[in-house]
Symmetry: C2
Subunit: 92 residues, 2 copies
Protein backbone atom coordinates (compact mmCIF):
# COMPACT_ATOMS: atom_id res chain seq x y z
CA UNK A 1 0.00 0.00 0.00
CA UNK A 2 1.49 3.38 -0.96
CA UNK A 3 2.44 5.66 1.89
CA UNK A 4 0.63 8.89 2.77
CA UNK A 5 0.37 11.78 0.34
CA UNK A 6 1.69 15.15 1.45
CA UNK A 7 0.66 18.25 -0.51
CA UNK A 8 2.36 21.63 -0.48
CA UNK A 9 0.14 24.25 -2.06
CA UNK A 10 2.13 27.43 -2.71
CA UNK A 11 1.44 30.84 -4.23
CA UNK A 12 2.94 31.28 -7.70
CA UNK A 13 2.32 35.05 -7.63
CA UNK A 14 4.46 35.30 -4.49
CA UNK A 15 7.16 33.13 -6.16
CA UNK A 16 7.09 30.56 -3.37
CA UNK A 17 7.95 27.59 -5.62
CA UNK A 18 11.55 27.46 -4.39
CA UNK A 19 10.47 27.46 -0.74
CA UNK A 20 7.88 24.75 -1.45
CA UNK A 21 10.40 22.61 -3.36
CA UNK A 22 13.00 23.06 -0.60
CA UNK A 23 10.41 21.95 2.00
CA UNK A 24 9.50 18.95 -0.15
CA UNK A 25 13.14 17.90 -0.47
CA UNK A 26 13.72 18.22 3.27
CA UNK A 27 10.68 16.06 4.04
CA UNK A 28 11.58 13.45 1.39
CA UNK A 29 15.17 13.35 2.67
CA UNK A 30 13.95 12.69 6.23
CA UNK A 31 11.04 10.35 5.51
CA UNK A 32 12.06 8.85 2.10
CA UNK A 33 9.73 5.98 1.17
CA UNK A 34 7.68 6.35 4.38
CA UNK A 35 5.96 9.08 2.40
CA UNK A 36 4.02 7.87 -0.62
CA UNK A 37 4.55 11.17 -2.41
CA UNK A 38 4.98 14.89 -1.96
CA UNK A 39 2.93 16.94 -4.39
CA UNK A 40 3.80 20.55 -5.28
CA UNK A 41 0.52 22.30 -6.05
CA UNK A 42 0.74 25.76 -7.71
CA UNK A 43 -1.83 28.20 -6.36
CA UNK A 44 -2.46 31.92 -5.93
CA UNK A 45 -3.46 34.54 -3.38
CA UNK A 46 -0.71 34.05 -0.82
CA UNK A 47 -1.42 30.41 -0.14
CA UNK A 48 1.23 28.24 1.52
CA UNK A 49 -0.56 25.25 2.99
CA UNK A 50 0.56 21.74 3.78
CA UNK A 51 -1.85 18.81 3.92
CA UNK A 52 -1.21 15.19 4.84
CA UNK A 53 -3.70 12.80 3.28
CA UNK A 54 -6.05 15.75 2.99
CA UNK A 55 -5.68 16.87 6.61
CA UNK A 56 -4.36 20.44 6.87
CA UNK A 57 -1.25 20.41 9.08
CA UNK A 58 0.14 23.88 8.32
CA UNK A 59 -1.26 27.18 7.12
CA UNK A 60 0.95 30.20 6.51
CA UNK A 61 -1.99 32.57 6.97
CA UNK A 62 -2.56 31.20 10.46
CA UNK A 63 0.99 30.30 11.49
CA UNK A 64 3.48 32.01 9.19
CA UNK A 65 6.04 29.87 7.31
CA UNK A 66 6.90 26.54 8.95
CA UNK A 67 10.28 25.92 10.54
CA UNK A 68 11.51 22.54 9.25
CA UNK A 69 12.15 20.89 12.63
CA UNK A 70 8.62 21.68 13.78
CA UNK A 71 7.09 20.60 10.48
CA UNK A 72 9.08 17.34 10.59
CA UNK A 73 7.80 16.63 14.11
CA UNK A 74 4.21 17.20 12.92
CA UNK A 75 4.69 14.79 10.03
CA UNK A 76 6.65 12.25 12.13
CA UNK A 77 3.95 12.18 14.82
CA UNK A 78 1.42 11.19 12.16
CA UNK A 79 3.28 8.81 9.86
CA UNK A 80 6.31 7.43 11.80
CA UNK A 81 5.78 7.99 15.55
CA UNK A 82 8.84 5.90 16.47
CA UNK A 83 11.23 7.77 14.17
CA UNK A 84 13.95 9.70 16.05
CA UNK A 85 14.50 13.02 14.24
CA UNK A 86 17.87 13.63 15.88
CA UNK A 87 18.48 17.37 16.21
CA UNK A 88 14.93 18.13 15.13
CA UNK A 89 13.77 16.37 18.28
CA UNK A 90 15.95 18.28 20.73
CA UNK A 91 14.03 20.86 22.76
CA UNK A 92 15.89 24.16 22.10
CA UNK B 1 -11.13 21.95 -12.89
CA UNK B 2 -7.57 21.30 -11.61
CA UNK B 3 -4.87 20.96 -14.25
CA UNK B 4 -3.10 17.74 -15.14
CA UNK B 5 -1.05 15.80 -12.61
CA UNK B 6 2.58 15.11 -13.43
CA UNK B 7 4.44 12.44 -11.42
CA UNK B 8 8.18 12.02 -11.15
CA UNK B 9 9.03 8.64 -9.64
CA UNK B 10 12.70 8.52 -8.65
CA UNK B 11 15.03 5.99 -7.04
CA UNK B 12 15.89 6.86 -3.42
CA UNK B 13 18.72 4.27 -3.35
CA UNK B 14 20.37 6.07 -6.28
CA UNK B 15 19.89 9.44 -4.48
CA UNK B 16 17.94 10.93 -7.38
CA UNK B 17 15.72 13.17 -5.22
CA UNK B 18 17.68 16.29 -6.12
CA UNK B 19 17.44 15.58 -9.85
CA UNK B 20 13.69 14.86 -9.50
CA UNK B 21 13.09 18.05 -7.49
CA UNK B 22 15.13 20.11 -9.97
CA UNK B 23 13.05 18.68 -12.85
CA UNK B 24 9.85 19.47 -10.93
CA UNK B 25 10.92 23.07 -10.34
CA UNK B 26 11.85 23.56 -13.99
CA UNK B 27 8.46 22.24 -15.15
CA UNK B 28 6.53 24.29 -12.55
CA UNK B 29 8.50 27.40 -13.51
CA UNK B 30 7.63 26.93 -17.19
CA UNK B 31 4.02 25.75 -16.86
CA UNK B 32 3.02 27.26 -13.43
CA UNK B 33 -0.72 26.85 -12.86
CA UNK B 34 -1.24 25.08 -16.22
CA UNK B 35 -0.08 22.05 -14.29
CA UNK B 36 -2.42 20.96 -11.51
CA UNK B 37 0.47 19.49 -9.51
CA UNK B 38 3.85 17.83 -9.75
CA UNK B 39 4.23 14.87 -7.41
CA UNK B 40 7.62 13.57 -6.27
CA UNK B 41 7.24 9.83 -5.72
CA UNK B 42 10.08 8.04 -3.88
CA UNK B 43 10.85 4.61 -5.34
CA UNK B 44 13.65 2.09 -5.62
CA UNK B 45 15.51 -0.05 -8.14
CA UNK B 46 16.85 2.61 -10.47
CA UNK B 47 13.48 4.06 -11.37
CA UNK B 48 13.27 7.56 -12.91
CA UNK B 49 9.94 7.76 -14.68
CA UNK B 50 7.67 10.66 -15.54
CA UNK B 51 3.94 10.27 -16.04
CA UNK B 52 1.35 12.84 -17.07
CA UNK B 53 -2.15 12.00 -15.83
CA UNK B 54 -0.98 8.41 -15.63
CA UNK B 55 0.49 8.28 -19.14
CA UNK B 56 4.20 7.42 -19.12
CA UNK B 57 6.06 10.16 -21.02
CA UNK B 58 9.63 9.35 -19.98
CA UNK B 59 11.53 6.32 -18.74
CA UNK B 60 15.19 6.48 -17.78
CA UNK B 61 15.63 2.75 -18.41
CA UNK B 62 14.46 3.21 -21.99
CA UNK B 63 15.75 6.72 -22.73
CA UNK B 64 18.33 7.74 -20.14
CA UNK B 65 17.77 10.95 -18.14
CA UNK B 66 15.59 13.59 -19.86
CA UNK B 67 17.06 16.84 -21.16
CA UNK B 68 14.80 19.63 -19.94
CA UNK B 69 14.06 21.24 -23.32
CA UNK B 70 12.91 17.92 -24.74
CA UNK B 71 10.86 17.08 -21.64
CA UNK B 72 9.24 20.54 -21.74
CA UNK B 73 8.28 20.03 -25.39
CA UNK B 74 6.69 16.65 -24.51
CA UNK B 75 4.67 18.23 -21.72
CA UNK B 76 3.81 21.37 -23.76
CA UNK B 77 2.54 19.29 -26.66
CA UNK B 78 0.10 17.60 -24.28
CA UNK B 79 -1.09 20.34 -21.95
CA UNK B 80 -0.41 23.71 -23.67
CA UNK B 81 0.10 23.16 -27.44
CA UNK B 82 0.10 26.90 -28.16
CA UNK B 83 2.76 27.75 -25.56
CA UNK B 84 6.02 29.06 -27.09
CA UNK B 85 8.92 27.61 -25.08
CA UNK B 86 11.41 30.17 -26.36
CA UNK B 87 14.90 28.65 -26.45
CA UNK B 88 13.51 25.20 -25.67
CA UNK B 89 11.69 25.37 -29.02
CA UNK B 90 14.68 26.29 -31.14
CA UNK B 91 16.02 23.38 -33.20
CA UNK B 92 19.69 23.10 -32.22
Amino acid sequence: MPGPRLEIEYCTQCRWLLRAAWTAQELLTTFTTTLGEVALVPGTGGVFEIRLDGEPIWSRKAQGFPELPELKRLVRDRIAPDLDLGHSDRRH
